[in-house]
Amino acid sequence: MWRYIVKRLLWMVVIVVCVALLIFTVLWFVPGDPAQIALGSEATAADLEAYRELLGLNDPFLVQMGRFMRDTFLRLDFGISYSFKVPVIEEFAIRLPRTFLLGAFSLVLNMVIGIPLGILAANHRNSVIDRGLLVFAMVFSSMPQFFFALVLVVVFALELNLLPPFGIATWKHWIIPVLAASLSGIAQIARHTRASVLETIRADFVTTARAKGLEERKVIYRHMLPNALIPVISDLGMHLSMIVGGSVVIETVFSFPGVGLYMLYGINARDYPVVRGCVLILAVFSAFVMLVVDLVYAFLDPRIKAQYVNYAAKSGGKAK
């Protein structure tokens, strides 16, 4: 098992480095002059030139890229924001926990609500509950996130006056953003779980379990569910990636001061260090969670586990 974990960790390092190179290259092509934006329209050509020289924007592509990679990975320094004049890493210290919590809450809600709903629907197949849940899931997985977020604001903040619409001052401020970020995921996971459970019901091992006289509860919870949930768990990485991407939209709607909103400021101000840092940190965050999901998946699925345990045993049993 350790061998698998180490292998995956090394692979993640490769992914992160490649993503950093990719981000730098794509942003190299962004039109617009950061010096012009930072200094305003009255700046003279000499001022602009001096500013560009100061930021090292006149250096060749590879030199800039090398500097970026060195600072980011060896010094953990994302640079200083051109427009805020504050090191990007300091902003991250404040903003990253917020975005992280938003994503974590959403992912947990996805699982905690989506999976039981799917199981419920599958167990009451073709009943009113099942039909209702399917319609619910279909509608919510078709709704653009910002649309749903705004509907929530209208209903809960403006009409019912129960929750505050914007900002993050108290825990109440978090309710609508978290709901908005997780609903389509809940709907998709519920549908996926239902389909997976229904497929497993017909599997031979379930018939065997029933045939040998196990009580129905045991058949469901010990034999059927662990197998039915494997494909659902393996998809959590994809859901997380959607939550992370969607966080930019959600943060815009709620003026939620997280990394996504920071990135949008950065984009509009041509503030390269900010944009690079944000995209990189969000990509690393989702790559890391995907890694965790994969490890859990490998742990749950005996076929994958066996592959590595056997491999380790053959190669001298060094890894266990």
Binding site: C18, P144, G245, N268
Partner: protein
């Protein structure tokens, strides 16, 4: 269930019926899929004939009716510049629908092309290509779209490119999985024995057997693309707000949302309806292709 059983029996007798016909017949028996198709046909026709149907020019500004709520004169109201929302929705369908269809189609073509080559070549080519896909898809699709839209600037075609970029790795991976299953089958062995070139084996013999599965997957993808593109427009990086595209209309309405919610709720609802229709259609098509999946 009974329907499926009734359909199955005649299929056995009439062996010559093509797969396409079978799929079509199963689709006709699926009411939710038909609902999706009906909505899609209606909205597509409305968009095509938008210049005839729209009561006003989509860019005509009526200053007497700024922010008008839906009324008899303007059925769906007006926006902040007095532009008729119904007309903009009808014209916007041209942009939104073609955006989704083109982006999904590019993803389909490129994904199938590379997926077939990679899957058939196997070994190192396959390994390297899959690792590239891993890296590519480790950036969340929305972030990738934001990056590309930033680099290229906001326009209709750049939005299509930005949306496509996130689609391709998934499409390649999915094609590859289909190819791996197909690769071992005997007809390919036969094609090889007949001294067909590799390209001929891949694209003349193997691809036609895969493409139908790919097209089925694409139907649901179009809806997803339209939804994502509207999100991109909403944060100001997609289609420019002057264009009567649905997502751009929502983005434009963002600032007036508290006082004039109809400006955003109407286009938002239309997006939802179209995405829902594509999903229903896509699911129906998938069930019709593979009746085993249906419970």
């Amino acid at each position: 269930m009974t329907e499926a059983a009734a359909v199955k029996a005649p299929v056995k007798r009439r062996k010559k019926e093509s797969m396409g016909k079978q799929v079509f017949r199963r689709l006709l028996h699926n009411p939710t899929a038909m609902l999706g198709i009906a909505i899609l046909v209606l909205i597509t026709l409305a968009s095509i004939f938008a210049p005839l149907l729209a009561p006003y020019d989509p860019n005509h500004m009526d200053y007497a009716n700024l922010y008008a709520r839906p009324n008899a004169q303007h059925l769906l109201g007006c926006d902040n510049l007095g532009r008729d929302i119904l007309s903009r929705i009808l014209h916007g369908g041209r942009y939104s629908l073609s955006l989704g269809v083109i982006a999904a189609a590019i993803g389909l073509v490129l994904g199938t092309f590379f997926g077939c080559i990679v899957g058939y070549a196997g070994k190192e080519v396959d390994n390297i290509a899959m690792r590239i896909c891993d890296i590519w898809s480790s950036i969340p699709a929305m972030l990738l779209a934001i990056l590309i839209a930033t680099a290229l600037g906001s326009s209709f075609f750049n939005t299509i490119l930005a949306m496509t970029a996130g689609n391709i790795p998934g499409s390649i991976r999915n094609t590859r999985a289909l190819v791996l299953r197909e690769r071992e089958l005997e007809y390919l062995e036969a094609a090889k024995a007949m001294n067909c070139s590799k390209m001929k084996v891949i694209f003349k013999h193997m691809m036609p057997n895969i493409i139908s599965f790919k097209i089925v997957g694409t139907a649901g993808n179009i809806g997803h693309t339209i939804m994502q593109a509207s999100g991109l427009s909403f944060i100001g990086l997609g289609v420019p707000p002057s264009t009567p595209e649905w997502g751009a209309m929502c983005a434009n309405a963002r600032g007036y949302f508290l006082d004039h919610p109809h400006m955003i709720l109407i286009p938002g609802f239309v997006i939802m309806l179209v995405v829902l229709a594509f999903n229903l259609f896509g699911d129906g098509l998938r069930d019709a292709m593979d009746p085993k999946l249906k419970d």
